[in-house]
Amino acid sequence: MKIVVCVKQVPDTAATMVVENGNISWGDAPLIINPWDEFAVEAALNLAADHGGEVTALCLGKEEETEAIKHALAMGADAAVMVSDPALEGSDNVAASKVISAAITKIGEVDLVLFGQQSVDTDTGLLPVQVARLLNWPSLTLVSKFEGITPAEGRLQVVRSMEEGNQVVESRMPAVVSVTKDYGEPRYPSFMGIRKASKAEYPVWSLADLGIDPPSSTIAWPEVSEPAEKEIVTEVIDGDTPEEKAKNLIDKLIAEKVL
């Protein structure tokens, strides 16, 4: 079974994010693998171990940003591919999905594509569904459990989350899956894995290697800003009776949009 796990590199979640000259900056906070992706890598490694197969980490980013891909390798991924091209700077989700789909096609004979449920920077969660649509493969998002997989027959059964509860879905393969935290704690990289990862060599593909033109982006971010520094102004909620106080608070909470 051939599994591709898509990983992304992001600033450490503890970083202080600021806007400098209209650009987003995280100071000297380290770059790490998107924490959600670790769950996808864990799922991939387990599936490959249980059913026989190979896990390839696929990363779309800048060539020198190796943390995400190396972390996936250190966890135990068998191989990795980086897609990097200056023309991809500022790509929106659809453009990125087109590039990732092309890379998956180039890798070839892929049975399963796994994603983390979203990334901590842009938080869109769109890539898994858009890649699925572009490849015309079933999309199974927010999967917490793989209940059965028969690669030979090209069939997969998963449990996925929705607001109202969990859905058990049977699907044909190949399919594109996003994995939630409920899947289970990802393993730490082993020391042997760390050594292997630091020495690992992997191809870096440009758009030319993928045989596609730079896809156009329709979504732009002309402006980014920091939240206004809020001076805490305590508003005292009054009322003659507890009932009145309660009602006044509810009105305030509705206006504050925190419910």
Partner: protein
Amino acid sequence: MEFGLSEEHLMVQRMVRDFAAKEVAPTIQEQDRLGCMAPHVIPRMAELGILGITIPVKYGGQGMDYISLGLACEELEAVDTSLRVVISVHNGLTCLTLLQWGTEEQKKEFLIPLAKGEKIGCGAFTEPGAGSDFAHIQATGKKDGNSYILNGEKMWISLASAADYAVVTVRTTPDANQAYQGLSTFLVDLDTPGVTRDDLHGKLGIRAGSTGWISFQDVQVPAENMIGQEGEGFKVTMSAFDSGRYTVAAGATGLIRAALNSSTNYADQRRAFGEKISDLQLIQAKIARMALDYQASRLLYLKAGWMKNQGIRNTRETSAAKWYATEASFQAASEAVQIHGAYGFSDEYPVERYLRNAKGALIYEGSSEIQALIQADYALDRRHDKKLRKESPPYDQESWT
């Protein structure tokens, strides 16, 4: 000169940091109050390979270098000293001593299970009546055919009650020319009849760890278990300290970082005199000192680690790192308590635990005073390290993996 940490080192650092933060930190306050280590900790460290991090793969270890060992210690002690103490006595005093002085048979028989974490090791050197004056220890080992019979008391031994093996130094030649020349070191199976041990309580710090005593009453130890040759015990023990001391230095650096982080977090939140106390200069002075000491300690232990990687004798540098980092960590913890005000005096915050933990390191693995004497000897050119019969092996990625 390459001052940066390699990609590998950064990954090791992150891995150990994540483990300590996720699996130990949440309950460490509680464990410190209970006075013992959580039962899952040592088995988990074994499972993750941390107990054999700097031992060659062929001897059951993970084949990482000495700098990785230091980084791991820094990350572990940033959560609690008790975690790093495990590494100091198991990896440092036991595994690395065997790696340096052990015969091939001893490495196969003892080092492999130790590095895998299947067995736990500790170092039994200190006695009720002898610590700094190690040359005058009183425990004895009397040759008897193919064995030695050990008698004596060892005290202040970390992991005494949990360990399977102990590296024990005793007097085997009572009438040697110089006291230190009559010592020999053994690898003792603590299940041997005649061994009794138990925990000590009432410690000022490192309460989430285990410190105890071991008593040897006519304990029969096979002669093949002697580490090094008869009479080499002092040298073997000093080598053990070169390893242990390094982990202490690295760990203390982590403690400084923990004190620093607690202090900056608190100072940015606490307000007094109309502003955040982190804007008050006297508070800033304390934080600046901590930050500086962190940088200095880090450079000292990393250099020692680099020298170990190269196979260069580093007694001087390791001693300097230990002395500097431990003294600085005690200062840092003390100032951290001060910055927290009354809250620093309460176990609501971790800084009082850092202070109580930090003090121990100024006493063990060679007290600050011993380190000062060592440094003076080197500075006054009165000490010249002769080549040892068995040197600490340099790191070689190919043969170690």
